[in-house]
C-alpha cells in the first residue's frame, strides 16, 4: 500500500506544481497578493509530498518489492543494503524523482531568501521554478513513474548496474544532478526580475550572485567527484575523457563560472545587465542540454545507465525555454541598459569581460565537439568521433589563457589603471612565472607547452601569495601582529579573498591536470605469480591471484607487494569483477596516492594459471586535483559569508541640531 500512497503523492505534487506556476504568474501579473501567498504556501508543501513518494520507493527497495518495475530493474537480492540509496537514482525514473525533490527543496530555500527583498520579482521567479518542476513531475507522472507496478512479480530483480557499486556513487550522481538543476534558481531569479520589469536597477544581483555561487559550487563538486569516480572505478587510469556526458556537465559549469564573475561587475558598476541575462540564459540552456544528453540524448556515452528514450522531451523543453527566455529578453531589453560604461580597457571590468568571452568560447567549442558526431551522422551519414585530441588542441589553449587571465586579472583595479601600475603589480608574479619555467627546464622537463602551463600557474600562485603578503605587511605596519593582520585582511573583504582561495583550488586542479597529462608513465606488463617488476623507482612483486565467486559476480584479485627504495608501501589488490547478469567487467584499480604521484595498477586480463596482464601507471600530482575540491568549497563558502554592511541614513535637520547641541 505504501507504493500506492507514493503514487498518489506524485500525482498530487504534479497538480500542485501546475497550480503554483499558474497562480504565481497570474498573481504577479494581476498583482493579487492572496494568490501569490497561496502559490508560495503550495510550494512549501511540495517537498513533503515528494518525500512521501521517495520514502515509498526506498521502502520498496528495502523490502525487495520486485512488483515495482523500477525496483526490479535496479536491485536484486544480492545487492548490498547500503546501495539502496544509490539504487534510488540509479535509473532514469528514480533519478527524476530525486531531481524533483532536491529541486523542490532548493526552490523553497530560494523563495524564502528572495520573497522579502524582491517582492515583485518573486511571483515570476516562483512561476518559473514551478514550471520546471511541473515539467519533471509531468514526465514522472505520465512517462517514467518509479512506483509503477509490474503485471507479474519476478522472484528476483535484475540488480544495480555494477559500475554504480562504488563509494563515489553515493555522492557523485546526486551532487551532479543537483548542480545541473540548481542552475534553474539563479536563472529564475534573473528572468523573474526581468519579467516583473525589474532588473534594470540591479535588484536581483545580490541574491542572484549568491545562488549563482551555490550552484557553481555544487556543479564543481559534481564534476570533481565524477572525475574521482572515473579515476578509481572505470579503470583506464584517467579522470577525464571528454565524454559527452562529462562535457554536458562541464558546459554549464563554464557558463556559470563566467556568470559569477560578470555579476560582480553589475553589482559594483551597474554594467553588463544584458550580458548577465544572456549568460544565465545560456547556462540554464546548457544545464538542460546536460540533462538531455544524460537522459537518452543521441550521443553515445559511458553514462548509459541513465539513458532513456525521453531525451527528446528535454530537448523540446530546452528549445521552448530558450525561445521563451530570448523573447522575454528582447521585450525587456530597454529596461536593461547599463548605468555606467567601460572607462578603460585596462580595468577589472575589461578583464572580466575578456574572461567571460573565453569561458563562453570554451563552452561552445565543447558543445560543438559533443554534438558534431550526431550532426555528421544526420547530415552526411558519416560516423565521426570527436575525442581527446580535438579538445586538447582547441579547448586546452583557451583554458590556458583563462589561467593567465585568472593570474593577472585581479591586479587590474576597478574603473581604470595605468600601464606603469599594472607593470608594478604584476612584475613579482611574472618573475615567479619565469623562475618556475627555469626550474622546470632545469629539472629536465623540456615540453614547451607543459613548461608554459606551469609557468602560468606560477604567475597566478605568486600573484595571490604576493597580494596576501603585501596586504598583511600593510596591516602589520599599523601595529597588528602577523596572524591578526592576515585574518583581518581576508575577513574584511571576503568576496575578494574567498575568490583567491577558490583560484588557489583551481591552480591545484590545473597543476594536477597538467602534470598527469604530460608526464604520466604507462606500462603494460604480463606477470606470473612470483615475478617482480621495476618502474619509476617502484618495485612491485606479484604475489598471487585469487578468484572469488559471489551470487551476482566473479571476482579476480591480484595481490602485489610494493616498495619504493627501502620503503615498504604495503600490499595492493587490483581486481576485476565480472557481473554475470549484466555481462559487464568492472575494474577496480589499486592506487597508492601521495602528493607527489599516484602508483596505479589496473588488471587487464587474468588467466587460469595465475598469469595476468596489468597496466601500471605513474600519475604525477593527481592527489592535488582531489585536494582542490575542499579548497574550492572553503573559498566559495568564505566568499558567501555575510559581511558587515555600512548603511546610510540621512538625519533630519532637527536631529542634526539636537546633535550639535
Amino acid at each position: 500500500m505504501f507504493v500506492e500512497i507514493g503514487y498518489i503523492a506524485i500525482g498530487v505534487s504534479f497538480a500542485l506544481s501546475t497550480y503554483i506556476s499558474i497562480a504565481s504568474l497570474v498573481g504577479g501579473i494581476k498583482k493579487i497578493p492572496e494568490l501569490i501567498v497561496s502559490a508560495r504556501w503550495g510550494l512549501y508543501s511540495l517537498p513533503f509530498l515528494l518525500l512521501v513518494a521517495v520514502i515509498a520507493l526506498v521502502n520498496a527497495f528495502i523490502t525487495n518489492d520486485f512488483s515495482v518495475r523500477y525496483v526490479a530493474e535496479n536491485s536484486n537480492l544480492a545487492m548490498p543494503q547500503q546501495y539502496t540509496w544509490v539504487a534510488l537514482y540509479a535509473g532514469n525514473a528514480g533519478s527524476l524523482l530525486f531531481i524533483a525533490i532536491v529541486f523542490s527543496l532548493l526552490a523553497v530555500a530560494a523563495i524564502l531568501s528572495i520573497r522579502k527583498s524582491l517582492p515583485h520579482s518573486t511571483p515570476y521567479a516562483l512561476a518559473l521554478m514551478a514550471l520546471v518542476l511541473t515539467f519533471f513531475l509531468g514526465i514522472i507522472c505520465f512517462m517514467a513513474n518509479p512506483l509503477e507496478r509490474l503485471p507479474i512479480t519476478p522472484a528476483d530483480g535484475q540488480g544495480i548496474n555494477p559500475l554504480l557499486v562504488h563509494f563515489g556513487m553515493f555522492i557523485h550522481p546526486p551532487v551532479q544532478m543537483t548542480g545541473l538543476v540548481s542552475v534553474t534558481i539563479p536563472f529564475s531569479i534573473a528572468i523573474g526580475a526581468m519579467l516583473a520589469k525589474r532588473g534594470g536597477r540591479d535588484e536581483w544581483v545580490d541574491i542572484g550572485r549568491i545562488w549563482g555561487m551555490i550552484s557553481w559550487l555544487i556543479l564543481t563538486m559534481g564534476l570533481l567527484l565524477g572525475s574521482w569516480w572515473a579515476y578509481t572505478i572505470l579503470g583506464w587510469g584517467g579522470y577525464w575523457a571528454w565524454d559527452p556526458v562529462e562535457n554536458s556537465a562541464l558546459m554549464p559549469w563554464l557558463a556559470m563560472t563566467a556568470f559569477i564573475h560578470s555579476i560582480m561587475v553589475q553589482k559594483r558598476r551597474g554594467m553588463f545587465r544584458m550580458w548577465n541575462m544572456v549568460i544565465i540564459i545560456v547556462a540554464f540552456t546548457l544545464s538542460l542540454m546536460g540533462m538531455f544528453i544524460n537522459r537518452g540524448g543521441p550521443v553515445p556515452s559511458v553514462h548509459s545507465f541513465a539513458q532513456s528514450t525521453m531525451g527528446w522531451l528535454f530537448l523540446m523543453f530546452m528549445g521552448v525555454s530558450l525561445f521563451g527566455s530570448l523573447i522575454a529578453f528582447l521585450l525587456r531589453m530597454d529596461n536593461l541598459i547599463s548605468r555606467d560604461k567601460l572607462e578603460s580597457l585596462l580595468s577589472r571590468e575589461s578583464m572580466f569581460l575578456f574572461q567571460n568571452v573565453l569561458f563562453l568560447i570554451a563552452a561552445f567549442i565543447t558543445l560543438w565537439g559533443s554534438v558534431f558526431p550526431v550532426l555528421a551522422k544526420v547530415i552526411n551519414g558519416t560516423t565521426v568521433t570527436v575525442g581527446e585530441p580535438f579538445y586538447n588542441v582547441v579547448v586546452g589553449p583557451i583554458l590556458l589563457i583563462i589561467l593567465v587571465v585568472m593570474g593577472i586579472g585581479p591586479f587590474f583595479p576597478w574603473r581604470r589603471a595605468t600601464k606603469s601600475n599594472i607593470y608594478r603589480a604584476i612584475r613579482v608574479p611574472l618573475a615567479a612565472g619565469i623562475l618556475t619555467a627555469i626550474i622546470i627546464i632545469a629539472v629536465g622537463i623540456r615540453q614547451p607547452l607543459a613548461t608554459l602551463a606551469f609557468a602560468v600557474c606560477g604567475v597566478a600562485a605568486a600573484g595571490i601569495f604576493n597580494e596576501w603578503f603585501r596586504g598583511t605587511r600593510t596591516r602589520m605596519r599599523k601595529g597588528e601582529p602577523v596572524w591578526i593582520a592576515f585574518t583581518n585582511l581576508i575577513t574584511r573583504n571576503r568576496p575578494r579573498y574567498g575568490g583567491y582561495i577558490v583560484h588557489l583550488g583551481i591552480l591545484m586542479l590545473a597543476i594536477g591536470a597538467i602534470a598527469s597529462s604530460f608526464y604520466s608513465t604507462q606500462q603494460d606488463i604480463t606477470m606470473q605469480p612470483g615475478d617482480t617488476y621495476e618502474i619509476g623507482g617502484y618495485t612491485l612483486s606479484y604475489l598471487d591471484s585469487y578468484q572469488r565467486k559471489y551470487s551476482d559476480r566473479d571476482e579476480f584479485i591480484g595481490e602485489f607487494k610494493v616498495t619504493k627504495g627501502n620503503k615498504d608501501l604495503g600490499l595492493m589488490y587490483p581486481k576485476q569483477s565480472f557481473y554475470r547478469e549484466f555481462r559487464i567487467n568492472a575494474t577496480h584499480a589499486a592506487i597508492k596516492s601521495n602528493p607527489i604521484e599516484d602508483f596505479y595498477i589496473i588488471p587487464s586480463e587474468f588467466s587460469n594459471n595465475g598469469e595476468a596482464i596489468f597496466r601500471i601507471l605513474l600519475n604525477p600530482l593527481v592527489w592535488w586535483m582531489w585536494a582542490a575540491g575542499p579548497v574550492m568549497a572553503i573559498g566559495t563558502i568564505f566568499a558567501l559569508t555575510p559581511q558587515k554592511r555600512i548603511s546610510v541614513r540621512l538625519i533630519s535637520k532637527e536631529e542634526e541640531n539636537k546633535r550639535n547641541l
Partner: protein, 122 residues
C-alpha cells in the same frame, strides 16, 4: 484505507493553498518595491562604499598608484554626493508627503467628528 489516505493527501495541500485566498492573507505582500528609488540609492551607496574600500586596499598593497587612487576616490566622492543629494531630496519629498497625508487624515477626522456632531444635533 487507501481512499482515505488519498483524500487526506489531496485535502491538506488544497487547504494550504485555499487558506490565504479565503482569509485574504497577503495584504502586505507587494507593499515594498525592490525597484523603489530608496532601494536603488541604498544599493548604489553600498557599491560606492565597496568601491572606495577596494580602492583603498589596492592602494595600500601597491596595486594602485597615488594618482589613480585620487582619481578613483574623487569619482566615488562625486557619486556619493549625488546619491546623498538624491536621498535628501527623497527624504524631503517623503516628509512633505507624510505631512500632507497627516493633514488629510486630520481633515477627514474633523469632518467625521463634525458630521457626527451635526447628526447628533439633528
Amino acid at each position: 484505507m487507501l481512499v482515505l489516505i488519498a483524500i487526506i493527501m489531496t485535502v491538506i495541500p488544497a487547504a494550504i493553498i485555499l487558506y490565504p485566498l479565503i482569509r485574504r492573507i497577503g495584504s502586505t505582500e507587494l507593499l515594498k518595491d525592490e525597484s523603489s528609488l530608496t532601494a536603488e540609492l541604498n544599493r548604489r551607496w553600498e557599491s560606492v562604499v565597496a568601491g572606495l574600500r577596494t580602492a583603498e586596499l589596492e592602494m595600500s598593497i601597491g596595486n594602485l598608484s597615488e594618482e589613480d587612487y585620487h582619481w578613483i576616490k574623487n569619482t566615488y566622492a562625486k557619486e556619493t554626493a549625488q546619491i546623498m543629494e538624491a536621498m535628501e531630496l527623497q527624504d524631503e519629498e517623503e516628509e512633505e508627503l507624510m505631512k500632507s497625508l497627516e493633514l488629510e487624515i486630520k481633515k477627514v477626522k474633523i469632518e467625521s467628528v463634525d458630521g457626527k456632531l451635526s447628526g447628533d444635533k439633528s
